[in-house]
């Protein structure tokens, strides 16, 4: 029987300032000379992180009631349409929302401006009711004038992601960046061996209630993310070879920093948001030690052709190859470029490591684990209204 540690034992060490914490990159280096058993004995927590564009993000906000009050049935923040179907003065700012007339400033920019404490123009309309007689309001808000604002991202931290290329003669503008014609480039996301869900591929330690670093503050994992898929093929190292599990996360936007939440606009695609996430993985036993020791050359992903309908797979590469600057796709050498920031991810992993070392961040035993048998539905088109 090898070493076994509990969450509480590790937290006691954290509170005593005695926990041994490494980043996922550091532990992968350590594993070159140390066995999983030795790592489980010496290391208590491994920090992982990612900083990439995550389109399925947004924030709930409560504006507070004006006098006389209004039931907001159409709402604009700096001209960006935000969700109006939630009570009188609650709303959800979707990161990708925008006014088609001003496509380069969207919900993510509103969120970033709120984080930065900037004033935002609020304009709202209602039909007027007996209890909410007002029909129109135009005012200015910022994060200090409103009640709650919390980030609630339905799908973040994708476990692995595919590589994008474009085999057609025309440039393609995508959320994976501008893809040059005739496979002149290949783009990849995820922070490889530092990426959260690639270090705990079975989600043994990450579940409902896991405390995480989110956008510069402490947040939580609250649900499996949308499109959570555990049925993707895995390689010999137990890692899915394309995008699979995801996380829904939550955190107090008023405590966040735009250093770790950044609005983005992709040419001829639209608005998205870079989200900084760090997740600590407790090294409970040798099996987890082995998982967090995974190296870039052991993590593979699938190359997809974004130029062709259905995005057919063209091959499989690993992250050591992707980071080398060149991969081979169907016999052709293709230049690679990242589209998520490894330098920011490293910064987050280091901050989280320091917070745990200083006893400011404790690990959490999940309240409930996530399902292990999910797959994806496709949207079927049925003949509507004809029967």
């Amino acid at each position: 029987m090898g070493i076994q540690k509990t969450y509480e034992e590790i937290n006691e060490k954290i509170r005593a300032g005695k926990a041994v914490v490494l980043t996922a990159e550091e532990v992968s280096q350590m594993a070159l000379t140390a066995s999983p058993e030795e790592i489980a004995e010496k290391v208590d927590v491994v920090t992982t992180a990612t900083f990439g564009a995550m389109c399925s993000s947004g924030a709930f906000i409560n504006f507070g009631h004006a006098s006389p009050p209004i039931r907001m049935e159409k709402i604009r923040l700096n001209g960006v349409p935000v969700y109006e179907g939630l009570a009188a003065v609650d709303s959800y700012i979707g990161a990708t929302a925008c006014d088609p007339e001003n496509p380069k400033y969207g919900g993510a920019h509103v969120i970033q401006d709120l984080i930065d404490g900037k004033d935002i123009e609020l304009e709202a309309w209602g039909k007027g009711t007996d209890c909410y007689p007002r029909k129109y309001i135009k005012t200015v808000i910022n994060k200090n004038t409103v009640n709650e604002i919390f980030l609630f991202n339905p799908r973040n931290a994708y476990q692995n992601y595919n590589v994008a290329v474009n085999s057609t003669p025309q440039i393609k503008y995508t959320y994976m960046g501008s893809l040059l014609p005739n496979m002149r480039n290949a783009t990849y996301s995820t922070s490889g061996e530092l990426s959260p869900l690639l270090n705990d591929p079975e989600l043994r330690t990450i579940g409902l209630g896991t405390r995480i670093f989110l956008g510069g503050t402490q947040g939580f994992v609250v649900w499996p993310g949308t499109q959570f898929n555990t049925s993707k093929p895995k390689n010999e190292f137990g890692v899915p070879v394309s995008n699979s599990a995801t996380l829904a996360v939550i955190g107090n936007l008023k405590e966040m920093s735009s250093e770790f939440i950044q609005a983005a606009y992709y040419e001829k695609y639209g608005v998205s948001m870079f989200v900084g996430i760090g997740i600590p993985i407790p090294v409970l036993d040798a099996e987890i030690a082995k998982r967090v020791s995974i190296r870039n050359e052991q993590i593979e992903t699938t190359v997809l052709d974004y130029g062709v309908e259905g995005s057919p797979a063209l091959g499989r590469v690993n992250y050591a190859q992707l980071r080398s600057g060149k991969i081979e796709v169907q016999g052709k050498k293709v230049r690679t470029a990242p589209v998520s920031s490894l330098s920011k991810a490293r910064k987050i992993a280091d901050i989280l490591k320091k917070q745990i070392q200083e006893g400011k961040f404790e690990i959490t035993k999940p309240v409930q684990m996530f399902p292990t048998n999910t797959s994806l539905q496709v949207l079927k088109e049925v003949k509507g209204g004809e029967s």
Partner: protein, 137 residues
């Protein structure tokens, strides 16, 4: 010998002078045209790599300026708000000359103006809109 890249801008009336001929013949400067937008009657822009002795380059540029052609080093005309850069790498995907690359040590963006040909693909590729190129007026 020195080699450096410049962005030239010249007024409509100087478009009919064989300026490059004089640079080559009178100042012994080797010219490599990297990008040109010259239309009759309009302000023209040119990206050139000039190679020559320090003294000849100075005289050649003086000659251009005497003919109302502005000549500024290329790196002075490309503006990258580095302090806001998140080092995502999107610009490196489109930079086929290798002027914008990720430093493999710290994975931060490096810009080498000597490799830039002012193709301008990085301008729309940056999701934070941090590049501006002062190529045309």
């Amino acid at each position: 010998m020195r080699k450096k890249r410049y962005i030239l801008k010249f007024p409509p009336q100087s478009g009919d002078k064989p300026l490059s001929y004089h640079l080559v013949r009178d100042y012994d400067i080797r010219i490599n045209i990297l990008k040109a937008e010259v239309r009759p009657g309009k302000t023209g822009s040119l990206v050139l790599e000039l190679e020559g002795t320090k003294e000849n380059l100075k005289l050649g540029i003086q000659y251009l300026e005497d003919n109302q052609v502005s000549c500024e080093p290329l790196d002075k005309k490309i503006h990258w708000k580095q302090e806001r850069c998140i080092n995502c790498g999107n610009c490196t995907a489109v930079c086929f000359t290798g002027a914008l690359v990720m430093d493999p040590k710290n994975w931060e963006l490096k810009f080498d103006p000597d490799k830039c040909i002012v193709c301008e693909l990085c301008v729309p590729a940056c999701p934070l809109n941090l590049f501006a190129i002062d190529f045309r007026e």
